[in-house]
Symmetry: C2
Subunit: 200 residues, 2 copies
Amino acid sequence: MRLPYPLTKLIDELVKLPSIGNKSARRLAFSLLLQPEKSAYDLAEAIIQARKNIRSCQTCFGFSEYEVCEVCKDEKRNREILCVVEDPKNVFTIESSGVFQGMYHVLEGAISPIQGISPDKLRVKELQQRVKAGQFSEIIIATNSTLEGEATAHYLTDLLQELVEKITRIAMGMPIGSDLEFTDINTLERSFEGRTSLNR
Amino acid sequence: MRLPYPLTKLIDELVKLPSIGNKSARRLAFSLLLQPEKSAYDLAEAIIQARKNIRSCQTCFGFSEYEVCEVCKDEKRNREILCVVEDPKNVFTIESSGVFQGMYHVLEGAISPIQGISPDKLRVKELQQRVKAGQFSEIIIATNSTLEGEATAHYLTDLLQELVEKITRIAMGMPIGSDLEFTDINTLERSFEGRTSLNR
């Protein structure tokens, strides 16, 4: 006996989601059929509404319900510092930490020759225009600490260094609370390179 | 900056799914916004279609696209053996193993006084009627090997033993490929109790 078609189809769609394997997709699909009908329809509706009502901010390309996002509209933020990130979700991660009060620019990815992602497929031109037009005193490059993120950081530094006084990269090193024993070589190397003085 | 409302709502709906925590829900929600729009709508549509087109089989209460499911309609199956399971997904699990060629009855749960699930909230009356009306020579009780599943097995045995000659319970013991060292006491106890002869 095969699974009924609508169930197979649902599993097929669920398995496309990140880190949802075959087993998880199956479990989720059955759960969507077993829970009260309303819950399933609410989820479907939430997906549709999210896609309909969330767009990219015209200025920073972060997610927003409006043409310009809350951060870009907020007059109280420091408009002299620009933090460049790869992904819209990075904005919310940084925001929830509260460590940064400036503006954002979302690249919508990172440079990856292997995946065919060149700078013109990212929001690099828009970044260049913002930096040219804006009064930024510092650009913080907060791309991921991956090969692609690092390559992007170097590319952007070359591109923007004539336009702004200070370009910085967020620190790489051992995550807080981690054990040196289990730190990989690359991280350890960066931790030693980036060591800071304890002398007073 | 707070997450846009439609995104918060989507995360709220995703987090209701089993084994989807806050972090996973967030990752899934962002992924649903970042992937091509069609994929997100396809998933929403698959959920809606699955809920609309999959119902409980009138006979066995397994999932079906039709009033009577494929197994119940199949004339080639052994109509003398009835396998009782808790959940519609159990039918597909057993079917995909190919170990059983008889009929099914889905209880839609297990007896659980703590959760307020009494036999009248399950498909027990329907099971009793089927057994009374049918020509079953054996009923295999394949409820889970949990407290609730065991309690249900005992309850059903008391209820049905006058109506059918043979009532059996699927075997409990060490799963194949497992190490005795890591087998819990309850499983080990059942493994010893249920030991079978190797003599020829």
